[in-house]
Symmetry: C2
């Protein structure tokens, strides 16, 4: 396809362009009271027709981000929370100003790890790990489903602690007396399978942010391997990156 | 729900647990020749039944990551490429060892920016920006759809350059004579709308990684605002994060 002037593209392209900007405004809480400006205003703002703006709003409605309320206008439905990627923080630490994080502890106990997990945690043959599975909620609503593998000496003391209300990071530091250092994080977008969707209370196929995170003690020893499924409509990740010479 | 021993959960939970580990093995290219071990081996590895492993493989097949090839076994279908989040790099810079990145330039030219874009780029009233829309491919297959807003003095010289084969980052540094510094990045998981799906050659609703990235010159001036839709089945993002005291 050859390049064309920006104003001569398909309506669908122009609608997506507007939707992207409005999505970020929603995430950044740019709309007072969570009410979007009216279509006429937005059409002028984005130099497009009202039909194009309607199509842009339809896209965000399909994502479950906004909805039309008769007599009020277009309102933000879901608050999205930002989770920082540069700093290693637990969810409760990150979101404490937004409400209470609680965890349904779905499983907790020692298991024999599969070898890829043992390798990541640099364990020897036959060493067990502590496995903890939690559904994490903010003010009661599901945010993420976390599967955690912990080195045995680090994980066992946690089984007697308040896993329902505390972040694993802060519990690890408290019970081990050691500080965490760095973590290696991988992020992917994955469609929710039926069962994960049911647990997270989203439709089957909903876009999830899937994070693998290997956290180390400050001395470099890997102790905590997590697989996290975050609801795409409720969490965003933020990072700062730097150009290297 | 009260906590239970890890081995006493539903099969769906145990299948997801295995699928998460196998997904990361695929991403990290842990399988020689892209062929997974057989079901019996995996069942032993994960201490689960063969039915549970089948269910785990079904999940990854639904994601389009693997497929069954009669007479061969289960093979990796899609190679996933990792894009670093800590270092600000263009796609071609990142993926040069995997093949050739080419860009279909769908639009390129000056536009009046919507005010949220003007604010992010710290532009005055009435200042225009250069808008560039590209579908980016690796060895011909779509990877991402990038919508880019550039400050006018930075963007105009790019219109005469080889946008089809070059990263915008390296073109900016070449034509401006200035280095880029930091970028603020926001990541989300979003389901592909029909039109974006068509452009990226994925099914409607496929999970996309949506990135907003604001890049600055080394002196702190914001010059490049991008909205990037990445195919969830082809790209992952990597980051290192650090526990702060």
């Amino acid at each position: 396809m050859s390049s064309s002037a920006p104003e001569r593209r398909l309506r669908a392209d122009r609608a997506r362009q507007a939707a992207d900007v409005i999505r970020q405004q929603v995430v950044q809480r740019a709309f007072p009271d969570g009410v979007l400006p009216d279509e006429m205003f937005l059409a002028t703002e984005f130099s497009v027709s009202r039909n194009t703006i309607r199509e842009a709003l339809d896209l965000l409605r399909e994502e479950g981000l906004i909805e039309r309320v008769p007599g009020v206008g277009t309102v933000v439905v879901t608050e999205k929370y930002a989770h920082g990627l540069n700093h290693l923080m637990g969810l409760a630490e990150t979101l404490h100003e937004h409400g209470e994080v609680t965890n349904d502890v779905r499983a907790a106990g020692p298991i024999k790890p599969p070898s890829p997990v043992a390798q990541r945690l640099r364990l020897g043959d036959g060493e067990q790990v502590v496995y903890v599975e939690r559904l994490r909620r903010l003010n009661g609503l599901p945010l993420s489903l976390d599967l955690t593998y912990l080195a045995m000496d680090v994980g066992l003391p946690l089984l007697d602690e308040d896993l329902r209300h505390r972040d694993i990071f802060s519990l690890i530091e408290q019970t081990s007396g050691q500080r965490l250092g760095t973590a290696a994080v991988t992020l992917e977008a994955v469609n929710a399978d039926l069962h994960a969707a049911t647990v997270l209370e989203v439709p089957k196929g909903a876009a999830l942010l899937v994070v693998e995170r290997l956290s180390h003690f400050a001395d470099g020893r890997p102790v905590d391997l997590e697989f996290i499924r975050m609801r795409g409509d409720r969490l965003t990740m933020r990072a700062e990156c730097r150009r290297t010479p």
